[in-house]
Amino acid sequence: MRGYIARRVLQGIVTIWLVTLGVFSVLRLTGDPVSYMLPPDASKEDRARLIALYGFNDPLWKQYVVFNNNLLHGRFGPSLRWDSRDALEVFLSRLPATLALTGAAMSFSIIVGIVLGAVAATRPDSLFDRVAKGAAILGQSMPVFWVGILLILLFTVYLEWLPSAGGLDRLGLKGLILPAFTLGCLFVAAHMRIVRSSMLDVLDADYIKMVRAKGMPRRTVIWKHALKNASIPIFTLFAVNFAQLISGAVVTETIFAWPGVGRLLVDSVFVRDYPVAQTVVFFAASFIIVINIVVDIAYAWLDPRVRIAG
């Protein structure tokens, strides 16, 4: 087990290193980074200052060494837009909003997905099951931003129930409902499908038949005994979905003017604030890698076969 963890962590570190190499090459090899960062009417002196500040006149290998050294010390360079505040600081100030949004969206989709999937599995081929299946196919085909716009159209424009833009600090929980629902919709379908199929398997298992034979009411069997085991696949799916969750957050935050890191990235890219953009991408990638390692280790801990095969 210890060997497995060590191997997995090492692989993760190699992957993170590959990602940083990718970020470095993308920013350096796609042309002159200085001209991306400066407005077109920048003076020669400003240009020279920026080149000296970021060391762009050094040889590439030296820039790479400095880049890695800065990363190791958590220095991501000053932001070009936010009064030269440290890029890391800007990123961290936006992180809570994104965590609230993604957390709420994920909880919503897990709860709804489990309930709908379980109900569909207990009545296979019923009207409910068919409608749910159709809705799942539809839900997996609708782009997140369209769902968001439609919800604004319904709840903000016609019903005037909920606000369409703002963050937690300005609107409180009321502002969280629409964005979280939009982002959560993306995963309800996936969660429902997986719970339905695993629930069908579980309901066929011997221990469920045993409980039933002993005279346990159907409701208790399904919601207490079967559901526990049928829900496990959702959490393994979580690691796979995490990258998609972050992509969805970028779009959702843009629609609802949610002050999180996804919107920060889009804004930074438009004002050519590449130190901040690079920080956001680096941390998002690292989060995904860490989540994957944690899930893999949890899996290996639960299932010894994985340790040997992996």
Binding site: Y36, I137, S141, P143, W146, V157, I255, V266, V281, I289
Partner: protein, 300 residues
């Protein structure tokens, strides 16, 4: 009189086969058994719109008309209404199909090619090449896909070619992983072993024995991926990083519609329906192809 307990065997006469069970019609029926008819029709429609947009579109999709702005949908002039610059929504949707269909298919072509190449090298060469390529696949899988796409497209500059390349080069991992395991399975099978024992070279082995056997998997994966490529293009366009304006991409139309969501419901509704239908068509056709091409899942 006692009845005989065993009934007399009935004489089975050869029945004439009805005409609709032979020939082209029957062949067509057997090929399209259980096919998602609506999805195939919509995909055909989208491709037709993409190819013959100038013939089908009632108006110029880019020409603005200041006197006809935000006209609601009506049967008289503008079937789906006009946008804030007086451009006909239906015409823009028809031209928009060009971008979605082109990006969808080209991006899948790029990612399918890269993924297959990596999978075949990985599965046939094995050893260190396999290790390196699979680590690389892991690294790409860990990327926050849309974020990287946003960053790279903004650096390269938004254009159709860049969008295709970025989507294509960031989405090959599914192919690499699935096809690699397929290749590993194939290389252990008797016909490949025999070919190798008979002295077939690696190149012949790949071209003659491995590639023909992964075509089905590639086709299924590719069809399923068209949908996600279409969504990604629309997302990038929505964020302002897709195909540059005034070219009508469905994503761009939605981005512009956001400003008018309070006054003109038809602006956001129709492009979204178009995207959803195209993505759904690709998903359903992919599911059908998977069941159809996999003999173990086919129900005869």
């Amino acid at each position: 009189m006692a009845r005989s307990t065993t009934p007399a065997p009935e004489l089975v006469l050869p029945q004439p086969v009805p005409a609709h069970k032979t020939g082209l019609v029957a062949w067509g029926r057997s090929v399209f058994r259980g096919a998602p008819v609506f999805s195939l029709c919509f995909l055909t429609l989208a491709v037709a719109c993409a190819v013959c947009a100038p013939l089908l579109a009632p108006y110029d999709p880019i020409q603005t008309n200041r006197t006809q702005t935000l006209v609601p949908p009506s049967l008289s002039a503008h079937l789906l209404g006009t946008d804030h610059l007086g451009r006909d929504i239906l015409s823009r949707l028809i031209y928009g199909a060009r971008i979605s269909v082109t990006v969808g298919f080209l991006a899948v072509f790029v990612s399918g090619t890269v993924g297959t190449l990596i999978a075949v090298v990985s599965g046939v060469v094995r050893g260190w090449a396999d290790t390196v390529l699979m680590r690389l696949t892991d690294a790409f899988l860990a990327l926050p896909f849309l974020m990287v796409a946003v960053l790279v497209v903004s650096l390269l500059g938004p254009s159709l070619v860049n969008v295709v390349l970025v989507i294509g080069l960031l989405r090959w991992m599914t192919y690499a992983r699935t096809i690699r395991s397929e290749v590993l399975r194939l290389t252990e099978m008797d016909f490949v072993r025999l070919a190798r024992a008979a002295g077939a070279r690696r190149r012949r082995l790949i071209v003659q024995h491995i590639l023909p056997n992964i075509v089905n998997t590639l086709l299924v994966l590719g069809t399923l991926e068209v949908g996600s490529a279409v969504i990604t293009e629309a997302s990038l366009s929505f964020l302002g990083l897709g195909v540059p304006r005034p070219l009508p991409s469905w994503g761009t139309m939605l981005a512009e519609a956001q400003t008018y969501v309070f006054t003109a419901w038809w602006l956001p509704v129709f492009p979204g329906i178009a995207i959803t239908l195209l993505v759904m068509a690709s998903n359903l056709i992919g599911d059908w192809l998977r069941d159809r091409l996999d003999p173990t899942r086919r129900q005869l």
